[in-house]
Symmetry: C2
Subunit: 453 residues, 2 copies
């Protein structure tokens, strides 16, 4: 009997997250204050984040305990299954062994909730009563709405207006979980009214929505804080539970990956599956190759310079050292909305800079092609973002088919695509474009990068 699902005893969920900052062979460049260009300290962040998360953001500790109340929530869906994709291997005719960690089984349908419950917990512990955030495609807003519901906190989600109008089901889902969803730019904030005056009829952008959510927190006098779904150290930290579980699960069947693959936008899902394996590589215990799969339409790690840049279009955030296409780079409208980010987490960027991880850029049509094959074999319709990880895994498996090598491939299925059927519909009708980026567009974006060393 084949063992498709490799389960883990709930008692074996790691009791601490892994902080890769503690193991970096060279120190990371510090984030800089957007005004002074001096390294930021805890107090610079305290207007919008609780101190518990700021301390994690800057922690030198290798492991950070998962609080009991967070673990109690994790137990609603964790440990997630690791699955051996026997049927996909057969369909590809590859000698490679393909495993995937199935984060799509979470309440929000993606990995995002791993950090959402942690962030809500630390905010609540410091007396915060409401969180504000932005969402584009909706995965993050959904996760934070669920987490706030679990802890009886209020949640306001500024949703990019075009998504708000085009994805009414995502909005309903957030509302069903108790979130308040506001189309952005809105009339609720000063910056939102300003955006509407400056750009009449605008359909919004993630950069605008971030600015609104941050303003609400910064002007609340402490009762409302801001919450971010990717990029920051503490967000990547919370996601490491994925890779730590996967390692135990692979151990339990006597295996270890040659390749670990995650799709990469802001970087937290890639960080989650990869960092616990990168730890082994840094320690000299393995030669594992970790691959960040990004879209060719937004090739941050494969085309951008390693430079200091803002995290948002509005230039409110600290400057962070990262690979970046420029904070005003506007990627084409691919369906993997979660991967349309000009920059990437500093931790991921630093590892790429040190040659400890790799990256590939993929077009969306081959990603959807592999996603449909995956769906037929494994039964799960993947999120378009996760489709990039699947494609990268399939490409490695096909290389093994050519070379005859028996490599072991692990990828993260970060989420399901139940709310992305318009994208599949467009693919099946042959309506999807594979965007070639214009060199001029790349140059325009690069021109907005403030400090290239």
């Amino acid at each position: 009997m084949r063992q498709y699902n490799i389960n883990l005893d709930p008692k074996k969920i790691p009791d601490a997250w892994y902080n890769i900052g503690a193991d970096m062979p060279e120190p990371m460049a510090p984030p800089l204050h957007p005004g002074t260009h001096e390294p930021v300290g805890p107090n610079d962040l305290s207007a919008i984040f609780p101190m518990g998360l700021i301390m994690q953001e800057m922690s030198p500790d290798r492991y950070i305990s998962i609080p009991g109340e967070v673990m109690d929530k994790y137990l609603l869906w964790r440990p997630t299954p690791l699955r051996r994709a026997y049927r996909l291997e057969e369909a590809l005719g590859t000698p490679a062994k393909i495993y995937y960690k199935n984060e799509s089984v979470s309440p929000s349908g993606s990995h995002k909730i791993n950090t959402a419950v942690a962030q809500v917990y630390y905010n609540k512990a410091e007396g915060v009563r409401e969180l504000s955030t932005e969402t584009g495609a909706g995965q993050w807003g959904t996760a934070l709405s669920i987490a706030c519901g679990m802890f009886d906190m209020k949640c306001t989600v500024y949703m990019v207006r075009i998504s708000f109008e085009q994805k009414p089901y995502r909005k309903s889902l957030m509302e069903a979980y108790g979130g308040r969803v506001v189309a952005s730019p809105s009339n609720e904030t000063q910056i939102g009214r300003q955006f509407q005056a400056d750009y009449p009829g605008t359909t919004g952008s993630l950069g605008m929505a971030i600015s609104e959510a941050v303003e609400v927190a910064a002007t609340s006098g402490g009762s409302i804080k801001y919450s971010l779904g990717s990029v920051l150290n503490h967000v990547c930290l919370h996601q490491t539970v994925i890779g730590m579980e996967a390692k135990l699960q692979m151990e339990s069947v006597g295996d270890y990956p040659d390749f670990v693959i995650g799709c990469c936008g802001g970087g937290s899902n890639f960080a989650g599956i990869a960092f616990p394996f990168v730890q082994d590589r840094i320690a000299g215990r393995s030669k594992v190759e970790c691959v960040a799969a990004e879209p060719a339409a937004c090739p941050t790690l494969t085309r951008g310079p390693f430079a200091y840049d803002y995290g948002d279009t509005g230039k409110f955030t600290p400057l962070m050292k990262q690979y970046t296409l420029g904070h005003n780079f506007m990627p084409p409208g691919i369906h993997a909305g979660g991967l349309r980010y000009h920059g990437v987490a500093s931790t991921v960027a630093h590892l790429k800079h040190l040659g400890l991880i790799n990256a590939v850029a993929l077009y969306q049509n081959p990603c959807f092609e592999s996603s449909l094959l995956f769906a037929k074999c494994e039964g799960i319709i993947p999120a378009p973002e996760s489709g990039h990880a699947i494609r990268a895994a399939v490409d490695e498996a096909l290389r093994c088919k050519e070379s005859g090598e028996v490599k072991t491939i692990l990828f993260n299925l970060s989420g399901h695509g139940h709310f992305d059927m318009t994208a599949y519909d467009a693919y099946l009708r042959g309506d999807l474009q594979d965007y070639e980026l214009d060199e001029e567009v790349i140059a325009q974006g690069a021109a907005s990068i403030p400090i290239i060393e």
Copy 2:
């Protein structure tokens, strides 16, 4: 540490389905030929079903082995988790223990695929190359599309035209898995063209779609067979894997239910969770109370007479002894589309007639209210159908709160509601009606019942 998820070792999935027909204390009335009113034999059904399934339909055996190839597919998502709803118990303030079997984790998002893979297997074993079926809400069409994809069979789904137009994502989902979806009534069948001529501009009905799917099979010369997603004995049989697993899982934590609850339309989901427990009651081993939760808008078991009636509006099917509101009864447009069926499985009806199971009829607004509470506590947005089981379970739990009794409640979460967000949206806006059935409508339906003894 709380054990929310009660997993089962995959090696312990039951290796046989349970046929409750073998344990009925009184024999069931046989199905009758629609023309002659004589009991039907295997040959009467062979034009549209394969002999393997016909033999199961009429089998006297208590257990029927699950073939290895079906088990290999089951292992992609089975055993499904049993979950203890600690958080829901707390939110209700009840001393009752609430468990639920989570069938929403399947590839199709509902229990329907348990019978879909079995039906496809038996058809393929007899050389059938294509299956035809109908779908209303889309759960069944999705399940059969996935199952056909897994066995490399063709699948054509006649989808009620109004659903085809209103639920484009369901259609895309079936197509993503390789199904061909046709709006019904269509021009592909004689009866479809007839329906369009007789009812110009019709938006279709399940009865019409069944007629088209049956015609395609009956006139194919054997290469195409018809597949039904509920009601029949062999469909209920295949679903018993749910209850058999649940029994082992409850045993593993030293518990046994006082109440077993499933929502009930055609009856297969209720049969799946309940029959293995009814077996205990028939054998005198338990006093378990099994409750079928049906919509007040379509109160088959609670209002209909126990009588012979057709399974479809077009009167093509055999006459089956059942509770029925009449084959031309047209229920109001509640959102639990899977529960809008005029009749019920003969096995379920017979058990109700013998007093071995109970039924309750519920309005949709309280069901959505409980579903949202469930979503906030357990993280999962339930299908509107499953919401009826949740409401019935909540009502039992609230009775325990009043009486102080510590009862154990088990219900089946038959599916998730990711493709039903319009319904939640309507509920949240306060737009949902609780339909009071007109006595005249009940009387009109009853007048179409051919044989009331």
